[in-house]
């Protein structure tokens, strides 16, 4: 698969087929992804890849606390900045609206929307979940390095015919994650990455996710 096709065919997949993922494929992907660049060659990324019983244990533990709502949340960072202006809020709400429209769940039906949101914590049925963490002393530029690595992983997964969904949502259950997997205390938990074979026939995997036009993002000087 060429790079362009991988970039444009990658989307956050939120319904997976019940088909296991070969460990050797994941090893190959992660081996290649080690070639991601990082400032000062720091390579700040770390991860735990779960499947089978350890994954079920985590999903079960989180399911127990979901009914507690916000009271059970234990994020270690702000997923999005508290003070954001209109354009970014529009982009954020745009995805949600596009998704719930595809699912035919109106805004008033809060219960159904919450139920869908909770599917985050079943990794949308993916057979594999990768949990990403990094030492706490890493600064914002090293988070950028982690992003480079994550996108490398997601594009390499496309090449292997696999889909993924990057899930910062997992950050709200950091406490339960720490109870199930060994993430060092001096590391911060960043996000999950659901990995599997996407069920591309589902409407949830088909709605268009808009992007800002190029001219809003990039300027050209001297061409």
């Amino acid at each position: 698969m060429d790079v362009s096709e991988a970039v444009t065919s990658r989307r956050s997949v939120r319904a997976f087929l019940d088909q296991p993922v070969d460990r050797d494929v994941l090893r190959r992907v992660l081996e290649t992804a080690q070639r991601s660049p990082s400032g000062g060659n720091t390579q700040p990324w770390n991860a735990v890849v779960l499947t089978g019983k350890p994954l079920q244990k985590l999903l079960g533990k989180v399911a127990e606390v979901i009914p507690q709502g916000l009271a059970a949340y234990s994020p270690e960072y702000n997923i999005y900045p508290p003070e954001l202006d209109g354009a970014y809020q529009e982009r954020r709400f745009g995805v949600g609206e596009a998704m719930y429209t595809a699912l035919d769940i109106p805004r008033e039906d809060k219960a159904s929307r919450l139920k869908w949101f909770a599917r985050n914590f079943q990794a949308f049925g993916a057979p594999v979940l990768m949990l990403v963490h990094t030492p706490r002393y890493m600064g914002p530029p090293q988070w950028s390095d982690m992003g480079m690595w994550l996108q490398t992983v997601m594009l390499l997964l496309r090449e292997e015919g696999l889909d993924s969904c990057a899930q910062e949502a997992w950050a709200v259950y950091t406490k339960q994650i720490r109870e199930c997997v060994d993430i060092p205390d001096d590391h911060i938990f960043f996000c999950g990455l659901a990995i599997g074979h996407g069920d591309r026939s589902q409407p949830i995997n088909q709605f268009p996710v808009p992007r800002a036009p190029l001219d809003e993002v990039v300027r050209w000087e001297g061409f």
């Binding site: 060429d2 000062g40 690595w149 990039v218």
Partner: protein, 225 residues
């Protein structure tokens, strides 16, 4: 490299290029790369990234300004600071040692090393440079989004036979760059430059071995047969 570059080939063949040929980069190719890179994911679909791509006269003018400006104090942000990031020091020193060995610059040759570092200002003679900045309000997770966008761009450039070098170094001139581009210093932080062009294949600085940690020290597998 042809249009059929696989993701793996792009990831493996991408490296920080520190000597470029003077072959210009066609605007149409860069437009195509940047158009496709819009499909990079970001938390909440914020797409926090912004940038300006410079070539020709504007790029030369900006570089002239940087040449006569001392590195800014305080820094725009703290990048790979060895005092803060212990393992970084050893890895940074390793890259430096390998790079200067390839360039045949001796360890004690401070002037030779400084001369090469200064070549960062002219982005190693790359014909185009992407200057990357974004609103200061963005937090660490949005820096990760910007990273995803940058790697997408660098891999798409490989597909077009182009090379790149991400340069946090240029943040030492963040204010000069923002002033030149009329980007507000109050609202925006400057992150890095991405030098873009065709590599000079003869130059040894583009060929030294780059080291990475083994996967086993980075990733733990649980529950697999």
């Amino acid at each position: 490299m042809s249009k059929s570059t696989t993701v793996t080939e792009a990831v493996m063949s991408r490296r920080s290029i520190r000597a470029f040929s003077d072959k210009p980069v066609p605007l149409e190719i860069l437009r195509q790369v940047m158009e496709t890179a819009r499909w990079t994911p970001s938390g909440c679909n914020f797409q926090p990234w912004e940038g300006a791509i410079l070539t020709g006269e504007p790029l030369r003018q900006l570089q002239e300004k940087m040449k006569v400006t001392p590195p800014q104090d305080p820094k725009e942000y703290s990048w790979s600071d060895p005092e803060v990031i212990p393992e970084c020091l050893a890895r940074l020193q390793q890259v430096g040692a390998d790079m200067y060995a390839a360039l045949q610059v001796e360890r004690g040759d401070k002037e030779g090393r400084a001369d090469f570092m200064a070549r960062n200002i002219v982005s190693f003679d790359a014909p185009a440079v992407l200057m990357v900045y974004f609103p200061r309000v963005m937090g660490a997770p949005q820096w990760s989004d910007v990273g995803m966008w940058l790697q997408t761009i660098m891999l798409l450039l490989r597909e077009q036979g182009l090379d790149s070098c991400p340069q946090e170094f240029l943040s030492m001139y963040a204010k000069v760059i923002k002033d030149f581009l009329n980007v507000s210093d109050e609202s925006h932080i400057f992150f890095c430059g991405i030098a873009i062009g065709y590599q000079d294949e003869e130059d040894p600085v583009n060929h030294f071995d780059r080291k990475r940690e083994p996967v086993a020290s980075k990733v733990q597998f649980l529950g697999f047969e």
